[in-house]
Every structure is written in C-alpha cells, then in structure tokens.
Subunit: 352 residues, 2 copies
Amino acid sequence: MQDHDNLTENDCKMTVRIKDVARAAGVSVATVSRALGDGPVSDELRKKVEAAVAATGYLPNLSARRLRSQHSHTIGLIVSDIRNPFFTAVSRAVEDAAYAVGMRVILCNTDENPQKEAMYLRLMQEERVTGVIFAPTRATAQKLDPQQLGFPVVLIDRAAPPGHADAVVLDNAEAASLLVEHLLAQGYRRIGGLFGNTSTTGAERHAGVVAAMQRHGLQAEARFIAPTPEAAEQAVRDWLREPAQPEALIASNGLVLLGMLRGARAAGVSIPAQLALAGFDNDNWTELAGPGLTVIEQPVYDIGRTAMKMLLERLEDPARSARKVVLSGRLIARGSTAHNLAADAGPDGAGR
Amino acid sequence: MQDHDNLTENDCKMTVRIKDVARAAGVSVATVSRALGDGPVSDELRKKVEAAVAATGYLPNLSARRLRSQHSHTIGLIVSDIRNPFFTAVSRAVEDAAYAVGMRVILCNTDENPQKEAMYLRLMQEERVTGVIFAPTRATAQKLDPQQLGFPVVLIDRAAPPGHADAVVLDNAEAASLLVEHLLAQGYRRIGGLFGNTSTTGAERHAGVVAAMQRHGLQAEARFIAPTPEAAEQAVRDWLREPAQPEALIASNGLVLLGMLRGARAAGVSIPAQLALAGFDNDNWTELAGPGLTVIEQPVYDIGRTAMKMLLERLEDPARSARKVVLSGRLIARGSTAHNLAADAGPDGAGR
DNA sequence: AGGTGTTGTGTAATCGATTTCAATGCCATC
DNA sequence: GATGGCATTGAAATCGATTACACAACACCT
C-alpha cells in the first residue's frame, strides 16, 4: 500500500529533478521548463506546475541549466585587493547592478600579481562567464586582447591602450591637478609623491602631478612603491630621514595614504605643521584621522554601476567600438593641508 | 585541399570541446578526461593529450563538469556587508583557504536583511554548493536548520542555538569584560554602549558588558541600533544632547565605532577628556583617528581560515556533532580611553 | 597450461536541464 | 466541410563533460 517511488514525501534526501515535478504535475518536463521560464503555457497547467514545484520542493540545477542554455548569467569581477575600500565600494555597486538584472558575480583578488590575473581570466573562460569587469596591472593591461578571451571586458580604474577595451576610469590628470593646485594655494612648494608601481593609475596620477607642477615652473619628487600601507610607511620613514625634506606628500591611493600617515607619525612629524599630506580615495577614516586628510573623492559607486552598464551595452552590440568613460574626482580639503605659515598655529594643530 | 573541419586553426571562434581534443590526439574522449583528471593513463597518451590540448586551446566547460560529476567545488560565503572591514578580512582568509584546496567562492551581501538571506541560501542550493560559511542575522540564526539545506553550514561571528550548527565566534563575554575592566581601571564609571540590533553578536557583547559591570556593582546604559555608521552617529548626537552624559561609550563593532567618533566630533566633545571611546574591531584607521581608539582586536584572518577548515572537516564526517570554536580577542589600549582625571592633561591630549 | 589480477583503453550511459520539432486541438475563413 | 493558422503540448535531441562497464593485453602465480 505504501508508495515506494520517490513521490509525495516532500523532503526526502534524494534531490528532486524536473522529471519528478513533471510526474507530480501530470505534465511533460518540457512544460515544467516552460512554466518556470517564460514559455507559452496555459494558466491551468502553470498553476499545476507551481503547485507541484511547491509540493516537491524542487530547486533547479543551475549547472544543468547553464550547460544546456549556454548562458551562465554570471559576470566576473577581478580586482587587485578587496581589502582596499575603493574596490569594496565598487564591488558593491557591481553586485547590486548585476543581481538587479539577474546575474551572479564571481569576485577574484589578484594581489597585483599577473600570474593570478592570468589564472583568473582562464577561470572566467572555463566558467563561460557572460563578461568580466577587471582592474588589471599595467603588465596585463598592455598585452590584453579582449577578442581572444571570448567574452567582453570592461576595465575599471585602469585603462588599456586606447581602442582596445571599454573602460571607466577617473580623470587622473585633472584630479592630480586639483591636489597640486590646492597644495600650492596653501603655500606648499616642495611637493613629493608616493605612487603605486603596478598600475597605469599610479603612473597617470604621477604624470598629472608632474604636469601641474610644471605649469608653475616647479618640480615634484616621486617615488614608486608597491601600493600597500606597509611599503608606503617604510618609504615615508626612509624619506623623512634624508636631509632634503618635502613640505607636502601626495599618495596615489587610499592604502598608500594610510601607510604614509603611519610613517609620518612614526617619524614624529606633526601634520600639517611640519608636513602636509594629501591623496586619493575618500575612505571612511580619512575624515577622522589626525586633522582630517585632504583627498580626492572618487565616485566609487558610479564607477561600479557604470562599468556594469557598459558591459550590458557591449553585450547588446558586440561590434561597437571601444569606449572610455572618464569620471571626475572631487577635492575634499581638510586639515592635513591646512596651512604652511609654520608657527602661527597652536602647538599641535590637532584641535578643531 | 584545405580542411573544412574545425581542426587545427587554433583560435577559431567556435568553442573547442573535449571531443575535438580527442580527435586531435587520436584517442577517445574518456582518455582525454582521464588525462586531464587523475585517471590511469599511459605516459605516452598523456603527452599526446597535453599536446592536443595546447594545440586546440581547449578549456573545460565547468558547468558540464559539475553537472556530470555532481561536485561543484564551490562554497558560498554569505556576509552582512563586505564594506565592513571585518568581513573583507574574513573573506580574504576564506578565499585564500578555498582556492588552496581547489574550491571557488561565491560571495553574497545580505545587508542584515532576512529576505536576502533566504534568497541567497536558496541560490546556494540551486548552485549545489559544497558548503556555506554564513554570518546570519539573529532572526535567521534561530530558525536555521542545516539538515534541511542539503549542504553543511559553518556560522561565523554569530552563533546559533547550541548543537545546531558548527560555528567560529569570538569570546564576546570575555572581550566585553576586557573592555569594561580597562575602562574601570582608567577611572571611568558611567559607561554606556551602542550595540547592533540585528545579530546575536551585538546582544552577546551587550550581555558581556552588563555582566562585567555588575561584578563591580555598576550598571551600564545600552542602546540598540542598526549596525551602521549613520545610525551610530545619530544615536551619539542624540545621546550627548541629553542631560545625563556618559563618561565612556562602547561600540559593538567597527562601523558603529566609526559613527560614534563622528557623532562625538559633531557634538564637539573632546576625546578622551570629555568622553572616552572604545569598541570592537581593530580596523586600520582606529590607530590613526584622534588620539587612537581603544579596541578589541579580533583574529580576523584566523576566523576565516578556521571556518574553512571546519567546513572541510564537516564534509569528511557529516555525522560528527556540531562544534563551536571560540577565539579570544585582544585588548589594544589607546589614547581614546587614556585617563579620567580630567584637567591634569594638556588642552587636547592629542599629542603623544 | 590455466586461472587471476592489473593496467590501460574505448563505447556508451549519464548528469538535469533547455530547445527543436512534430503533433494536437481549436477557431476562423473560404 | 475542407483548409490554414495559431496556441499548446510532449517526445526526443542536445549541451559537454565524467564514469560504469566491457574488454584486451600482459604479468604473475600455482
């Protein structure tokens, strides 16, 4: 009398397949598939199918679906380090936008390592992803050929040679110029900078600083480092031990700025009285550290959202020529660059 | 004369299947599959297959592989917000550990929203993930039944009722006690706290504070808020406008601590002269903000790594009873709780 | 010699869905 | 009443891999 088939007992340990739903609903598997998707199915059968799905606890197998339909509904997001608040913010924007159009996101960290980049790009191919949003190192950006990859790529934060790939980046020259002009207006002249040595972004921001300084007949001393707080801290400690001291330092991103501040603290210099600090990325903490740090705020959420939008547009029209969207940064002046009229301030300048 | 089959032309637009590799190597598809995996294949044929793979540019289709093998080699990581540095650090640890054993990670943000949690758990089932690492809200933690889900779950940061699921958490009572004892030793008596209202963690840290205070015959005033900087800032601004003012405030996580500091700044109170601040999570910036913030440092990387290890152990032995690993936090005392002997210090206390 | 493993290989079944294709029923039209 | 078109439906092919099974070749024992 008891049924020995895997029928009604709703949460048995066996996984329930579309075939089981079809049997429970008294229809064919094709009808179930169509009812779950958007195929033409009569209201009557659709209701039956929905009831059967609920009764059996059916959950589609995405691997099977992807294999047959040849659509992964997945995009890859390859960044250098998710611990950098810039990338966490961008990734939230990308994820929100992706899930809104029914796509999943695979997130990968490369640690600025070209080998890891190659590995993850290969993984993306094996996953047959719909597209990829990618912040490449300089080395990879140069030899990247999106045609070869089999899926569209949108670069973020860092651009490739023009015409190669879609990209959404900051206007680094303009932003660097904003920082330099601000520092000059505050009376600083001997301006130095610490720039990441792995990306085009570090190079572009450096170029922007040099160009802005040149317009005033000045020179900037630049040093190139691994874009980590640790490297930046060490570089600043070394720098401040040398005879010729800068009046102001510019950091090419938020992590470098963090290390810079640590280095300055360790060296015992007070900010801004003895040394001004400024940099990129309006990370949460920059407002609260010391006298507040002067930064360029990037439209982080916009960058992620725009990248996703460009990816979708590219999917619609694979033939269109590559576009580069350039967004503007905003200068947020704070206490770390407050004045260079040394000795007119209180003993520390940390008040406010 | 020219071959019209999809043979040699190595990067043709058609995707190359295992069948093509087999033909190119002059062997069966089974042999190719075995050569790529770990099956028994003679050295001679293995070499031929490798050559054919290189020549054709073959890339396995992971969907097909997963469908047939019934192994997704994927784990889900469900956190409340990747913008919280605690979770970014944990996620890096999880990813590193996962990729080291050949597993991929799907990362999801729930925004402390039970509906999103349910949605992502369902997604995990559809993906047929190997397992999940999950930081649930209190609501979900209580009704969660890992048996029902079809894959093992390891909870992080927040535990479920005992025996329900594996978990790796901080010793919240101990950590809260460390904070309270430190504040008392510094001379603070009227201690308040802001705790997240969505997780068991907020509740446990609150309970720990209350217990520690009681041991000294004191009471703590607690307020419960959404665990975001915005909510914390507003709560502190409101609090500081009331007649009865606290001497010290404790924040139940890094984001709340951030908002707390903003609120205190906005209210114009100086730290620690007028108000001491302390909290959880040794986020990068806490060392650099104001006089430095006293915090409990969590072993973030360890938490992620341990969670992954427990997940793997659970996969090996699904029958073992649930374990809860409790890790200890470390007190890092900084200037934000420096003294309560008001007026004996300099005008600001920000020096050091 | 004759059985018994062992190793390496190919054929074909299989994973669980989507999609093609043919068939059906119904209605409007000539 | 025959015909054509349209909307639904089911049977079977298909996606691209892994793996069960059969089998051949060869070594190793009594």
